[in-house]
């Protein structure tokens, strides 16, 4: 299992990477679904292009943060050209570490009153 030090070595994640990991946190998805999910969740503020998406997927995959899933949807729903990606255990740890890092930074910003007003999503 990857050590903590290794987890830390990925931080900070680029926004694109972090959003991809977030998109996969609740289940496996194919590329276009990831792209859609990220756009939806960020109200179109983070828009991934095909090049950026697959560049990041490639790096995340070779780092072991995500993996290709062997499970496929039912035949009628499946497009065989698509590949499905899932978040690995290590990927989850890295995503958690990144979220914690952000939270800590957020806390510090709050204590310095660098926050206007906490907004509820």
């Amino acid at each position: 299992m990857p050590k903590k030090r290794e987890t830390q070595s990925f931080l900070p994640l680029t926004p694109a990477m972090f959003h991809i990991l977030l998109a996969l946190a609740d289940g496996e998805k194919h590329g276009y679904a990831i792209l859609k999910e990220v756009a939806r969740r960020t109200a179109n503020k983070v828009r991934l292009s095909a090049g950026t998406l697959y560049g990041n997927l490639s790096r995340l995959e070779s780092a072991g943060l995500i993996a290709e899933s062997s499970r496929r949807p039912e035949v009628v729903l499946d497009d065989e050209r698509r590949r499905y990606y899932l978040l690995t255990e290590f990927g989850r740890e890295v995503a958690v570490a990144e979220a914690e890092r952000m939270e800590e930074a957020l806390g510090q910003a709050r204590s310095k009153k660098l926050f206007r007003k906490p907004k509820l999503a």
Binding site: Y32, S49, A50, G51, T52, G55, L57, R59, R81, R82
Partner: protein
């Protein structure tokens, strides 16, 4: 079908995706297209031109920001892998890098010379406009006749193609007022000489047209090197005065550090300051020639046009002054680019060396490809596993190319060091062939060349090894050994590479062999003198003190008496030159003459001979034997009848069937006659490879030209140098003594060019031989390892070790014989190129060819012997158990 209906946007997307690495595309291209299609579909539903633009912008930025990262990642991972592989095989790596370093180093160093001397334009503004003009007397075989003042005036006035025309001649004067009297190499030039070349002074000014007027105050311009070395870069030098030729000269400027053509000089003076050039004889006599002439083409004029122009002027001169240019001499004039003029002597040798160096690099490439192939045989399993794990074919090719480039790059760096180390040697060598040698250095273009050589090399051997390993990948996994079919193909490839190496080595060895044979032949030539224990020193008198012939004769006699009284001196002589004197060419001493009682037919060329002026003991001092008549005597001076001694070649050529003694000749159209009183043996005056020409020796007492003191000593001549210099200064302290050489040194120096060419070719050929022999050894060794089971079976079935030894040796020798066969064809085709550099050796010299063939065979036999012995001592039990 689908391709045809593909919308334009998809096609464009596919084209864009091609900037991504192959492996990335293999993995993701389909999916990326899918995503892009979905995005397009969505866009169509929602519509909007701005949205479409935004999508395209994001897509393009995304692809172009991903591509470099992906490429870089592959490169770093390949490099890391390659370094690990190299560390795992240190022997192979070191051998490959060293081989490549030798090949690239040899090429880089020779290229630095070719680039600086032959390719780079001269370091002057619009250097391609600079031309060299020459006059010739073609029927007399004189290719480079100097110019007289009258002729220069004519060419200057009549030409239509030149924006300027300047003259140059080199002199040695003695400079006073700066420590000991010093002989300074002086360039005597037209006032606009430096303007024509476009040289701006570092300090002060160059010459003005007023400096060139008769009776102008004498001025000097110093060369950068002289100013730096002799005056410690004195910034106050301008305005200082020195005495030369009894006149006070003022320094008006210092030149920048530019190469000086045609010769390097210490100082420059305008023509009016040269006591010879400004003398009446030179100013008025059309036939008193000693100058060289350079010109600058008018803008838009070609060298061909200028050539036609000067030819026309020469024809006009011929018509106007038939006495100076009789039909019989074949007078003509021509113009050629200055750059060509300065490099023509070096060109054949340098190109030969460049070709030789290229051969060494080819051999090195073949050898490293072979080494890599042999290693591939061991790595096939590894490559197959990588392939099975998903590495695409191009990925493996890229990996192998990265490995080969890293090795070639390391080899290139090491080669560059080698080139840097050999620079001084090459500069000295080329200095004998071209005045541009001082410009040789390693600049950015040479660095680029080394890099290109490394890159080219890695592509050649990397691709060769990758191509031949790829075929095996699939089969290796299946049967666990090298695939039989492709293994054979690989072996054939390796054999072919070895045959090529041997063939190239053969050609190189032939080149080196011919040059060495030629050098040996030159060294065996009888020079016609006894050079041992003879010292020659240049003695430059203060010309202005010895104006008349009589005064000079007196000081010569005084000098000889003083030198002869020195203990340890056997005999001494004064002469205008001596055999093997550096930088002397026969043209400078050639003269036409007429023989009394022999009229020339119309159009018949007059006889030509070289002339020297010597004191009576010259022949004794140099050991030149008397063949008939008498030698010169003390009494041959002043008003006594003028006499001359001729050599045997002159006798054979001009009086083949009669006794030359008592015959009279004239060099001034019958105004004065000199009588032949003796015949001496032939001397190779201008170098051992220069056949003796007809030679006339006049008496110093009647024709004073005291340039050199020659002394035969009882003991070691060099130890006498100081005492002799003192003796010269005892007679006249204003005499500069320079260039003290023993005749053996001079003889050795005169062979420098063929010797260095032979040495460099020898080094290249030696390298090639070692590389090729190592190649044969490696291949035979691999062959034995591959066939160890078969050999074991053979031995188990009763084969004798000696027959196994014979089999392996035979295979090695077979490769060598095939290589030699191809090499012979190559050598016969190519050796015509070296013909001009050979001395009395035919380019297809049987001795050289058979010697080189035997050497290569012996090398192949030695290299195959070790693996053969290993094969012969194979234990069948162990061999059969081995996988």
């Amino acid at each position: 079908m689908e391709k045809q209906s593909l919308p334009f946007s998809q096609k464009l997307f596919r084209a864009l995706v091609r900037v991504l690495p192959f492996d990335f595309r293999t993995n993701y291209e389909g999916e990326m297209e899918g995503v892009f299609r979905e995005q397009q579909r969505e866009l169509e539903e929602r519509g909007g031109f701005l949205e479409a633009l935004k999508l395209w912008k994001e897509t393009i930025v995304g692809i172009f920001s991903t591509a470099p990262r992906e490429h870089w990642q592959i490169l770093t991972s390949d490099c890391g892998y390659a370094f690990r592989m190299m560390r795992k095989n240190p022997g192979f790596t070191a051998l490959a890098i060293l081989t490549l370093a030798l090949g690239i180093g040899a090429n880089t160093s020779i290229f630095s010379v070719v680039h600086s001397v032959l390719l780079k334009s001269l370091p002057y503004p619009q250097a391609n406009q600079l031309i060299f003009i020459r006059q010739q007397e073609k029927k007399l075989g004189i290719e480079d006749l100097s110019f007289s003042v009258k002729e220069i005036e004519d060419y200057r006035a009549q030409n239509r193609t030149l924006s300027g025309l300047v003259e140059y001649h080199g002199m040695s004067f003695t400079l006073f007022g700066h420590g000991d009297p010093e002989r300074v190499r002086t360039g005597v030039v037209s006032a606009n000489y430096f303007d024509l070349f476009g040289v701006k002074p570092l300090l002060g000014r160059t010459f003005l047209s007023d400096d060139d007027k008769p009776d102008a105050p004498p001025v000097l311009v110093l060369s950068y090197e002289y100013w730096k070395n002799d005056f410690g870069s004195d910034p106050e030098i301008v305005g200082k005065t020195f005495e030369l030729n009894d006149k006070v000269h003022t320094v008006v400027g210092v030149l920048p550090a530019v190469p000086q053509y045609p010769n390097e000089n210490d100082v420059y003076m305008p023509t009016s300051a040269c006591p010879f050039r400004s003398g009446k004889a030179h100013l008025e006599n059309r036939d008193m020639r000693m100058m060289e002439v350079f010109g600058r083409l008018k803008p838009g004029v070609t060298v061909t046009q200028a050539n036609a122009d000067v030819s026309t002027i020469a024809a006009r001169l011929k018509a106007a002054y038939p006495k100076s240019y009789p039909n019989s001499v074949g007078f003509a004039a021509s113009a050629s680019p200055l750059q060509e003029e300065l490099t023509s002597k070096a060109r054949p040798t340098l190109l030969l060396l460049l070709a030789a160096a290229a051969f060494v690099l080819l051999i090195a490439c073949a050898n490293v490809a072979n080494l890599t192939l042999s290693r591939m045989a061991k790595r096939e399993r590894e490559l197959a596993v990588r392939s099975a794990l998903g590495a695409g074919r191009s990925r493996l090719l890229r990996q192998l190319l990265t490995e080969s480039f890293l090795m070639a790059f390391a080899g290139g760096m090491l080669g560059l060091l080698l080139a840097y180390g050999s620079l001084q040697l090459l500069t000295d060598f080329v200095g004998r062939l071209s005045p541009r040698a001082r410009e040789i250095h390693i600049d950015s273009q040479v660095l680029l060349f080394a890099l290109a050589a490394a890159l080219g090399t890695s592509i050649v051997f990397g691709t060769l090894s990758a191509l031949f390993s790829r075929a095996n990948v699939a089969s290796s996994l299946k049967d666990g050994t090298s695939g039989a079919g492709s293994g054979r193909r690989q072996n054939r490839m390796r054999d072919a590479l070895i045959v090529c190496q041997i063939a190239f080595s053969f050609v190189l060895l032939i080149g080196a062999g011919l040059m060495i044979r030629s050098l040996i032949k030159i060294q065996q030539v009888d020079a016609g003198i006894v050079p041992q224990r003879v010292l020659a020193m240049r003695t430059t008198f203060n010309w202005s003190k010895y104006t008349g012939s009589d005064k000079t004769a007196v000081v010569i006699q005084k000098l000889l008496d003083r030198v002869q009284s020195e203990p340890g001196v056997l005999s001494a002589a004064i002469s205008s030159r001596y055999p093997f004197e550096p930088e002397m060419i026969p043209e400078w001493f050639s003269n036409t003459f007429q023989i009394e009682g022999r009229d020339l037919e119309p159009g018949q060329a007059p006889p030509v001979s070289t002339f020297a002026s010597v004191s009576p003991d010259y022949f004794k001092t140099l050991g030149i034997p008397l063949k008939a008549g008498r030698l010169l005597a003390e009494t041959d001076k002043g008003e006594a009848p003028h006499v001359v001694i001729i050599n045997e070649t002159a006798k054979r050529q001009f009086w083949p069937n009669e006794d030359p003694l008592g015959k009279r000749v004239s060099t001034d159209a019958g105004e004065h006659w000199v009588t032949v009183v003796g015949v001496v043996g032939d001397v190779r005056e201008f170098g051992l490879d220069h056949p003796p020409s007809p030679e006339f020796y006049a008496s110093q007492g009647q024709n004073a030209q005291p340039s050199t003191l020659i002394v035969r000593t009882i003991g070691e001549p060099r130890s006498m140098a100081r005492a002799l210099t003192r003796a010269v200064h005892d007679v006249d302290p204003q005499t500069a003594v320079t260039r003290i050489l023993t005749l053996e040194q001079a003889r050795y120096e005169s062979m420098a060019s063929p010797r260095v060419t032979a040495s460099l070719l020898g080094i290249f050929a030696g390298l090639a031989l070692v590389i090729a022999a190592a190649g044969i050894g490696g291949i035979m060794s691999l062959m034995v390892s591959q066939r160890i089971r078969e050999i074991g079976i053979r031995i188990a079935l009763g084969a004798r070790p000696s027959s196994i030894l014979q089999m392996v040796l035979g295979q090695g020798l077979l490769l060598a014989v095939m290589g030699i066969g191809i090499g012979i064809v190559g050598a016969v085709t190519l050796t015509g190129l070296v013909k001009s550099l050979l001395f009395e050796v035919p380019p297809t010299d049987i001795l050289t060819f058979s010697g080189v063939g035997l050497t290569l065979l012996a090398a192949a036999a030695i290299a195959s012997y070790l693996p053969a012995r290993r094969a012969a001592s194979v234990d069948p039990n162990i061999a059969l158990r081995a996988d």
